[in-house]
Structure formats: C-alpha cells, structure tokens
Amino acid sequence: MIDVLIGAMVWSNLLVLLALGLTMTYITTGVPNFAQASFAIVGSYIALTLLRLIGLNPYLSIPVTFILGGILGLSTYYIALKPLIKRKASIEMLMIATLAWDLILFGIIGAYSEVLSAITKKTETLFVFTSLDFNIYGIPGRLIVSSLLVLLTILGLYLLLYKTKFGIALRASMENPSLAEAMGINVENTRLFSWFLSGALACMAGSVLPYLQEIVPQTGYFIVVSIFAASIVGGLYHIVGALVGGYIIGISESLFTYILSILLGPGVLVYSKVISLLMMIATVLLHPRGITGTEMWRRVERWLNL
C-alpha cells in the first residue's frame, strides 16, 4: 500500500509540473496546448542524451532541460501560434495548430532517437532511468526529487507572483489583459513568460519521468490525457488549479484504481485513464471552472489571504 502511495505521489508531482504549464498558457494565450506532453518527452530525450554522451545523471541535467525546455516553449508560441493569433484565428484553429506542432515534435523526437542510436550503438527509442535512481531510507530518489521540484516551483512562483513587480504585472495581465495593456504593461511579455515557463517545467518533469516509466516517442500521446484532466479538474482559470488537479488526478489514477481493483477485481486496473477522464467529464459538467472556481475555494483563498 505504501508503494502505491509513493508511486502515486511521484506521478502526481510530475503531473503538477506538466499541468502548471498547460494552465498558464491557457490563461495567457487562451489555447489548450495539445503538445504539452511532447514537451516532456523532449526533456526526457535531452536528459538521455546528456546521460549517454557525458554520463551526466539525469537529475543533474534538470537545469539544462529547464532552459532548453523554455526555449522550446517560446518557439512553440512564436512558430506555431503567434502567426495565427495575428491573423485572428479561432480557438479551434489554434488547438489544431498545437496538434500539428505536436506531430512535428513527434517526428523530430523519432528522427533524433535514431540519430542518437547511431551514435551510442543502442536502441534509444525506448528507455528508462529507474535503475539509476538512488534511495534514502527506503524513499526512492524520484519521490524526493520530484517533490523538491514541485516545492521549488511553487515557492518560486509564489515569490515571483506576489513579491515582485513583474509578478504583479503578470497576475494583472492574466486577469485582464486589456486593462494591463492600458497600464503600460506589455502583455506580450507575460505570454512569452508563460510559454517559457510552460516548456521549462514540462521538460524538467521530462527528465524525471523516465525514472517512473518507459519512454517511447509516442508516450506523449498517452499522457496528454492525464495532463488535461489535471488542469481541468483543478480549474483552467487559476494557476493553483494545476496544483490541486495534478494531485487529484495523479492520486486517483493509481490509488483510486487500486482500491477499485480490491473491490471489483484486478481487471479494473487497466482502466486508470478512464477514471481520470471520467473525473474530468464530471468536473466540466458539474462545475466547469474546476475546483479553484468554486465558492468554497474562494473562502479558502480569503482565509489564506492570497
């Protein structure tokens, strides 16, 4: 049981990092980004490259993946979305554009994995890092590192958003871009920032993900469902939503499915993604703005004085 919990926590932590980016870019640009999961896979491959070529432990490659991921996020915005936004494209067009971008990333990842295989003389389309993981008093490194990453991200975001001028401007632009523009804030900057952060966080999660599961170029196609579920259940209009949703989805995918399997038999275990999808549907139908959009949440917020 404790192992189920540990696994669920690691997965939740990573989901939080991935969902944060999705939520932020949704707030600033208004696009649900279908390429979000592929960002993570790019991160995994960057970490793999550093491991194979210079023997760097994937945990240590996080700063590199963070920065490269940021660049990836920015290029997504510049190449795939900005030209369309300029032409006043509809939201469906933007969604399809992120899909096309996802396909391009998929092709690049695949091609790259082959190039890397030729260098390392190993098949590099499928890999895990789990055997490289460390262990402190029975707690696997992936849990420690992923939790630290989430903590650092939250702390960093909190300080940035609440204690700096740029952060206040960011919150202002998220709430009301046209007014922010009127205040002399260049709203475009906040979009750039959110795309940078979105890519950076996702790629960072990508360096930890192979400690948890095997990575193939197609992995993104499968995990994107969970990321969307996390963001939506938490609430797409609130950054904190990603945090709440990430843990709810991450934990229910493993833990809830596990409890169901005790009650209904092991056959249920294969349907874990169905559970997160159903939770997402229920959220959208009952309360489209997600958990952070509820009155109860507003009270919690007031109490926390955020």
């Binding site: 899909l99 396909l103 091609a111």
Partner: protein, 342 residues
C-alpha cells in the same frame, strides 16, 4: 500508380463523409465536436458487435466471440461470393443500423454538456469519445478490443484484384449521397437556423427556438452520417480493430480538413478533403525518395510526420478562412432579387 490513386480516392471519400458531418456540427452549428472519432467507431461497433452476433447466432457457431466471428465472417463471405445481392443487403442493413446507432450516440454524447460552449464543450466531447474508445479497446468481449474481429467481405463476389476498386466506388457513392443530402438539408430553414445558432445563440432563443433541441438534432445527424464512414471502412478492411479508430485520424484530421476547406462551406470541405488526403498520401508515398534525395540520417517515416505537421501549420496560417469562403444562403426571394438586380 493505380493503387496509389485508388487509395487516395478511397480515403478521400471516407474523409469527405466524416468532414462533411463535422462541418454540419462545427462549421454550421458551431459545436466543436472533438469527439468525432466516437461516431465513426459507432459505425464499426454496429458491424463488429451487432452484425457479427447475428451471424454467429444464425450459423449457430459455438466458441469464444473472436474465433466465432472469424468463422461466421468466413461463412458469410462464402455466401456473398455466390450471391451479390445478399452482400449489398448486408451493407444497407448495416448502414441503416449505423445511422440509427450513430444518431443515438451523438444525441447522448451532447446531452450532458448542455450548458457548455467553445473549447470546454470540445474537450468534454473528446473525453467522452476517449472513454468509450478505451473501454472498447481493453474489453475484448464487446467488439474484440485489441484483437479485433473479422467481418464478412460484402463485395466477395468481385474478383480479388478488383475488390479494392469496388470498395472505392462504393465509398465514393456514399460520399456523393451524403454531399447531396447535406446540400439540400443546409439550404432549408434548418440550415439557416443552424448558422444563426453558431453566430448568436441568444438570437435563436429569442425566436423561440429550443437551442438544446437544435444541438441534439445536429449532433445526432452529424454522428449518424459519420457512422456510415465507419461501416464502409470496416467492410473495406474486413475487420474491426478498435485501435484503428483513434483520435488523430478520425477527429483531428477531419478538423484540419474543415478548417482547410472553409468552415460552413461544403464544397470547400470536399476540396479540403481532397487536398488533405492527396498531400498526406503523396508525402507518405514519396518519403523514401525524399530521404534518398536529402541523404537524411534517419528513417523516412519521421520525415513524413515533420513535413505533414509543417504543411498543416502553413495551411492554417495562410488559409484562415479556408480555401472557399462561406457562401450566403440563397433563399428563393434573394435569388429572384439577384436575377433582377445583378
């Protein structure tokens, strides 16, 4: 080359059916149905799940569903090869059932999301479709899941090497009928109200129309049409395998086609489908040559994804209103005015 052209025409016909149905829902009705794959899957489900069970029962075959399906399909194929009418009869029977099942599935899937709009509605429909897909994929009892089940070859009376052509013709006929039907339908009062609904829901409400009823009707109609494509595809490939009905091919590609061809313009969508399938197949077909030409250090398959993605982006970027713009609806009074007042 003939094979390539046949393949292009076949998938062109399939995508015309699916994209036109999406155009009805999304282009005219403003419902972003990101769960399009579900309706195509419904068509397949009818053939694999219902027709097969009927056949198994009719032939009195014992054993597990998947193996029994193989046997039933085989026996039926034998019969059809002697008796063309039975084959066509089965086809019409399945299309009818698929239309009914598709309509029900479409109506049901929009029901819970009555109050949603825009991207939220789209994502919900996507999630519903994905849930059904996953359940059908993992549960091998319903339509064989990842194993898939065989279905009879309804054109078994056509000699083997011509059968692909025959299916292509069948698909093209279906596409043509769907097109004609939709053209007629959308130039009726229903079509005008649908466009009105897309532009301004409140206006429709003000005219005393029930928006929800309109949505349900539209989704039912759209899904019923798309289910036909599922039936054609399943008979063509002689099997129902659930992973063939994933969201990329049956939801995202049709969206790309509708956006490429022009929202709310059926002619444009047909043209869009043609260009899309042509480009996709040509990239697929010539990728090896491109690879040799450019001396790429990786397999051509990756090139295909990258090139296709880039083309899709370019299309979106340079064709924001589609190849053909939405045409005004010519009601008789307008037509007569146009005549007198050119």
């Amino acid at each position: 080359m003939v094979e390539l052209i046949t393949l292009i025409l076949f998938f062109f016909a399939l995508y015309v059916i699916v994209s036109l149905s999406l155009n009805l829902e999304f282009g005219y009705g403003g419902i972003p149905n990101f769960g399009k794959a579900l309706s195509v899957l419904t068509g397949a489900l009818v053939v694999g799940g219902i027709l097969n069970r009927l056949l198994i029962w009719y032939f009195g075959i014992e054993g597990d569903f998947i193996s029994a399906s193989s046997l039933a399909a085989y026996r039926m194929t034998e019969i059809v090869s002697q008796n063309p009418l039975i084959g066509l009869g089965i086809f019409l029977f399945c299309v009818t059932m698929a239309v009914v099942a598709g309509a029900i599935a479409g109506a049901l899937s929009i029901l819970p999301s009555a109050k949603l709009k825009g991207d939220y509605l789209g994502v919900t429909l996507l999630a519903i479709s994905e849930v059904v897909y996953l359940i059908l994929f993992y549960n091998t009892e319903i339509v064989g899941g990842y194993y898939g089940v065989s279905v009879p070859d309804i054109l078994a009376f056509v000699p083997g090497e011509y059968r692909v052509y025959a299916y292509t013709v069948l698909a093209l006929i279906c596409a043509l009928l769907v097109y004609l039907f939709l053209e007629k339908l959308l130039n009726s009062p229903y079509g005008r109200i649908l466009r009105g609904h897309r532009e301004n829901e409140d206006l429709i409400k003000a005219f005393g129309r029930d928006v929800m009823k309109l949505r349900i009707k539209t989704m039912a109609l759209g899904s019923a049409i798309a289910a036909i494509a599922g039936v054609v595809f399943v008979f063509y490939s002689s099997s129902v395998v659930v992973n063939a009905f994933n969201r990329v091919e049956w939801t995202f590609y049709p969206f790309l086609i509708v956006l490429l061809g022009g929202k709310g313009n059926n002619k444009g969508v047909v043209l869009g489908a043609f260009i899309f399938v042509l480009l996709k197949m040509l990239i697929d077909f010539y990728k090896f040559d491109i690879k040799y030409l450019l001396h790429l250090p990786f397999e051509a398959v990756w090139l295909q994804y990258i090139v296709f993605g880039i083309l899709a982006l370019l299309i979106l970027c340079y064709k924001p209103e589609g190849i053909l713009k939405e045409e005004p609806i010519y009601t008789p009074p307008i037509k007569s005015r146009l005549k007198t007042n050119p």
